[in-house]
């Protein structure tokens, strides 16, 4: 039985410094720190994210996979700019760069679109990783550079042919699943977009991968979403938040359909969140950053064990 920490004293000190840097960044910008409940009435609707259910004495509550739901209720209630630095939980995630329990930084800025929020993310990241130069490119440009299909214009057949050439094991249903094929395209292209030691923002996603981002009409229509990748590691995901409540409800229904199609348990959104969205979310952009991964990059570590006080305790059973 090893009871000792998996991170060194100097790494824990660096981690503490980074948490202080984050708080200083938001204090200087006048963004309010909030601290919402970890136990929620609903889990994540996203079919790719599994929530941990907890028995709180006769009732089931879900450890939050991100503080998004509670923070949007605060925004709808007029909180103004807010950030949260805390724990989030995702079941069945375990790898050198995944843990079931992890530290997430999530924030929302009023009146920002995804480009203004990318600027804000870049300023914060530069305070932690001053030597990293961040590129900024639309997803279609990354795909063109990688010789991959255009994510907005390629037919589903072209996407399937590309996936097959990459060695994806597909059923006929998989080969017709545009959203699945785009997920593969995104993960392959974005991870390898910039050389080791560098990174950047990729923005303007296909509408199938809009998540909760606004879609700008046009040909092609583009989702105002971005990701930040450094050293091939996904660090942040953000977007210009959808404000249209009908459109938001339609996306929740689409998630629920996808859950059913995959045989996953139903996970309807928290009614309190729906009521808050109906009352009106202000025009804002939001983003979440994996803080453990940020510390890992700052310490040039290659495994989360090296930057977590007790890394192996947080790995799920599958390791």
């Amino acid at each position: 039985m090893t009871w000792r920490p998996t991170a060194s004293r100097s790494t824990l000190a660096r981690r503490g410094d980074i948490l202080a840097t984050i708080r200083a960044h938001f204090a200087a910008a006048g963004v309010l720190e909030v601290d919402t409940p970890l136990l929620g009435a609903a889990g994540a609707g996203d079919p790719a994210i599994a929530s941990c259910a907890v028995d709180v004495g006769g009732r089931v509550r879900y450890l939050q996979t991100s503080p998004e739901s509670a923070m949007k209720r605060l925004l709808a209630a007029g909180s103004g700019d807010i950030y949260q630095l805390g724990k989030a939980f995702r079941r069945e995630e375990s790898s050198p760069i995944h843990r079931c329990e992890f530290t997430l930084l999530e924030w929302y800025r009023l009146g920002f679109d995804h480009h203004a929020l990318m600027d804000d993310v870049a300023t914060l990241v530069a305070r932690v990783l001053p030597e990293v130069r961040l590129a900024r490119e639309p997803l279609s440009a990354l795909c063109a550079r990688a010789g991959a299909p255009d994510p907005h214009r390629a037919t589903t057949g072209e996407l399937a042919a590309w996936a097959r050439a990459l060695g994806l094991q597909m059923t006929p249903q998989d080969a017709a699943d545009r959203s699945l094929l785009l997920d593969l395209l995104l993960s392959e292209v974005v991870r390898r977009a910039w050389p080791t030691g560098g990174g950047g923002f990729v923005y303007d996603f296909p509408v199938e991968q809009a998540a909760y981002a606004r879609i700008r009409p046009g040909v092609p229509a583009l989702a105002s979403r971005f990701e930040l990748v450094i050293d091939g590691i996904e660090l942040a995901n953000g977007w210009h938040e959808l404000a249209d409540v009908d459109e938001q409800q339609a996306r929740y229904r689409e998630e629920e359909r996808a859950r059913q199609a995959r045989g996953l348990p139903s996970m309807p959104p928290d009614p309190a969140l729906l009521a808050a969205l109906a009352a009106g979310l202000p025009d804002c952009a939001g983003v979440a950053i994996g803080v453990d991964r940020l510390v890992m990059l700052a310490c040039a570590a290659h495994d989360l064990d090296d930057v977590l006080a007790f890394g192996r305790d947080q790995a799920s059973e599958t390791t």
């Binding site: 790898s95 995944h98 094991q169 993960s187 990701e227 996904e234 995901n237």
Partner: protein
């Protein structure tokens, strides 16, 4: 045979792909913050030895391959078949030149080999890491000949040809590393 979900993937797991048994060499889970997760795996075809890359949707299942390694004693070859025996059950199996591959050139009889069985049939034979063999033919070394790197070819009693130092003489017993096919040292007469 059991099937395995991608979250059970790990190096060494034997799975079936396109009708052939494969060994997982490397497994990387690519799990984005949003969207479907994938497992990128490197797999080695146990029939051909070729390594390829495949991608699986995380959560998908794959049929396991009934592959096991058995320690068996090499008995003899009649030129077409190579015969092996399980030393505890005395059960005998035979295999052919294609399955033997490079292993055949190191074996003279009695050696314990690792025989890979797929559905009970041999698909690969791994000889002992080191074998002791006698040289049946080699030319006398010429002093000062450095053009060949100080080595010369020697034919062993099994037919294998190994590069040996110039001072080694015909009839000597040598220790050979079968993984590299290289001379290790002279061996003592028993």
């Amino acid at each position: 045979m059991a099937s395995y979900s991608t979250n059970q993937f790990k190096p060494g797991l034997k799975i079936m792909l396109d009708g052939d048994p494969y060994n997982i060499v490397d497994n990387e889970m690519v799990k984005p913050g949003k969207g479907q997760a994938f497992n990128r795996v490197k797999v080695r075809n146990l029939m051909t030895g070729r390594t390829i890359e495949r991608t699986f949707k995380s959560g998908d299942s794959v049929e396991g391959a009934d592959v096991m390694d058995a320690e068996m004693q090499y008995l003899y070859s009649d030129g077409e078949s190579w015969h092996f025996m399980n030393p505890s059950s005395f059960e005998q199996i035979q295999t052919n030149a294609q399955v033997m591959g490079d292993a055949a050139q190191w074996l003279k009889g009695q050696e314990m080999c690792s025989v890979t069985l797929f559905n009970g049939n041999p698909i690969a034979v791994t000889p002992p890491n080191f074998v002791i063999l006698r040289i049946t033919q080699t030319d006398p070394g010429i002093r000062g000949d450095t053009a060949t790197g100080g080595t010369k070819p020697a034919t062993m009693e099994t037919g294998a040809v190994v590069r040996v130092p110039l001072f080694i003489e015909e009839g000597s017993l040598l220790k050979i590393d079968t993984r590299t096919g290289e001379y290790v040292s002279r061996a003592k007469e028993e």
